[in-house]
Symmetry: C2
Subunit: 332 residues, 2 copies
């Protein structure tokens, strides 16, 4: 019969509907790219030479080749949040709201229109991670900036139609209550056991080894025990660190290596699946908390959240984390 | 500039990205049905005559025509949860899990392969609501059944590929923590004000009238102040009722009328959008609580939840609730 598992950190339940009989290769993407991709697209706002289509350029990271940049940070042309206004609340009748204060930036990861992270050199991926970190640290300096969400959408099902490799940063002027819930649960765990729940998960996964996909001195890469969908992967620093802002230079290089390796395995074994990733980190004012722990979460988009998930918050995952980890580790 | 709103009941924030300039008719579905639909499909397990493709028939509601049923309840052929086992927890190392105890049933809403709710008579829709209620009350009798989620997925984007109109019921042996969060927030509101937060929302919406789509003696139908996506709609009983199990016979008929009317408006004005709906109700043991309130929530699938939503729990809604309500109320 099926199994239900609880996320140790958030207490969210996940149903494993393995009786439906799906196997890892059933999640492989069927579709072939119908149009051949090119290194340059004249309609792409992120390609070199098309700077006129960008609102402005905030940061440009030089590349190895003279006269060619490697990464750029630009404002999002259709921002969800903008820097005008402030973070005070207003009321409308019985309701509470606030102005759309925040920031919304795009990190263009490469000058080449179709170069995926999996195909970059480790040094090129390191530049992306360094750019994340540089913006994170800078944006965190402003008191109004409560939370910084760094994320990447790859493919139509993951919410993007732009092919040119890019990530996004959204700064919010409040702490989302989704993140407050996670904090509260980890606070309860800390009160009960005197330890960070994520540190305990790391210790256990390193010993158990059933869900580990990659390990080096800085990071453990694993499929979490209560993964919400097939091939969900967490890249988590082995040393306790509440905030992504605290990552060391050496760890940045390790994160780049791990991220590239995992995205390459997903690309190869599942035939370029659509995915999102996001860096889950602490709010601005909690960077030194002993009970929070940042990690990068990868979520391939291989299942659809339907009415049951909307109503219950419980995901139905047709694949067991141990099976996913085996499949990702197996030589083909 | 954009606006951010807080759901009064759950405290979840929603960003209104109206600066992106989408108007209600931009959400109209472009695609035409390529294949004409037929009243009978010989490969459909829910069509009359194909009973051999069903595991069994739990309930059959007779229709007006002799020898033809109007609705059926059948077990889901690929259930997420099954009635064997129990609800005790087990541990695996540091983790907590439980057996996949529960039930997963399908309500076949009509014998006709392609008859949408919008096209049924009010009496036919009432039979669906009565069937929901009958199963709800019966399934709630068992002590192990903590939570009953009744939901409907319409269309591929909403997670179903079966055309034949049907809803689903999933019974769980625990209270999802998503629902516990909602309870805790409404409990805090009750402690603070001595009133049900949903009753206060109803009072305000009836006076404010900016987001009301339909009102009768039993129900208010409205776009909530912090709708998470375009054309999200709540159908909420005007009298305080924690559990869907408490609905009166008269109200069932009103709910059928309201649901049919709203689905017909969505169908006509947005060209048959994919959607989910779910009945949000109290857990088994909290049916008499003064601070909980059930409602039917309709969520058209017109936007994609991407990395930001996964990381923050905050939805980006390109359309304001007042605009959506206006569009649904306007004669064309």
């Amino acid at each position: 019969m099926n199994e239900i598992r609880q996320n140790k950190a958030t207490k969210q339940w996940v149903i494993y509907a393995t009786a439906r009989g799906k196997r890892p290769h059933d999640f492989r993407r069927q579709k072939d790219e119908s149009e051949p991709l090119s290194v340059f697209d004249q309609g792409c706002p992120f390609c070199p030479g098309n700077e006129g289509m960008l609102p402005s350029i905030l940061i440009e990271v030089p590349g190895k080749k003279p006269n060619l940049w490697q990464a750029r940070v630009v404002p999002n042309k259709f921002p969800a949040l903008t820097p005008e206004g402030d973070t005070s609340r207003f009321t409308k009748g019985i309701y509470v709201g606030m102005q759309g204060y925040g920031k919304h930036e795009v990190i263009i990861e490469t000058p080449f229109h179709n170069q995926q992270i999996a195909q970059m050199s480790p040094e090129e991926v390191e530049i992306i991670i360094e750019t994340y970190h540089r913006r994170y640290v800078d944006l965190m300096k402003e008191h109004k900036n409560m939370m910084i969400i760094i994320f990447r959408n790859h493919g139509l099902q993951a919410g993007t139609s732009l092919v040119h490799p890019h990530s996004q940063i959204i700064v919010t002027g409040m702490v989302p209550n989704h993140i407050r819930w996670r904090e509260e649960e980890s606070q309860r765990y800390f009160d009960e056991w005197g330890r960070c729940v994520y540190c305990d998960i790391l210790d256990f996964e390193i010993r158990d080894r059933k869900r580990v996909v990659l390990e080096d001195s800085s990071f453990l890469v694993f499929v979490p025990y209560a993964a919400e969908g097939p091939f969900e992967i967490w890249i988590m620093p082995k040393n306790h660190q509440a905030s992504f802002g605290q990552i060391s230079d050496e760890s940045k290089s390790d994160l780049a290596f791990g991220l590239r390796e995992i995205l390459a395995r997903l690309h190869k074994k599942l035939n370029n699946p659509d995915y999102n990733y996001v860096i889950n980190t602490s709010p601005q004012y909690k960077a030194d908390e002993p009970q929070l722990h940042w990690y990068l979460q990868i979520r391939p988009r291989l299942t659809t959240q339907a009415g049951f998930e909307i109503g219950s918050g419980i995901s139905i995952n047709p694949s067991l984390p141990e099976t996913d980890a085996d499949f990702l580790n197996k030589e083909e």
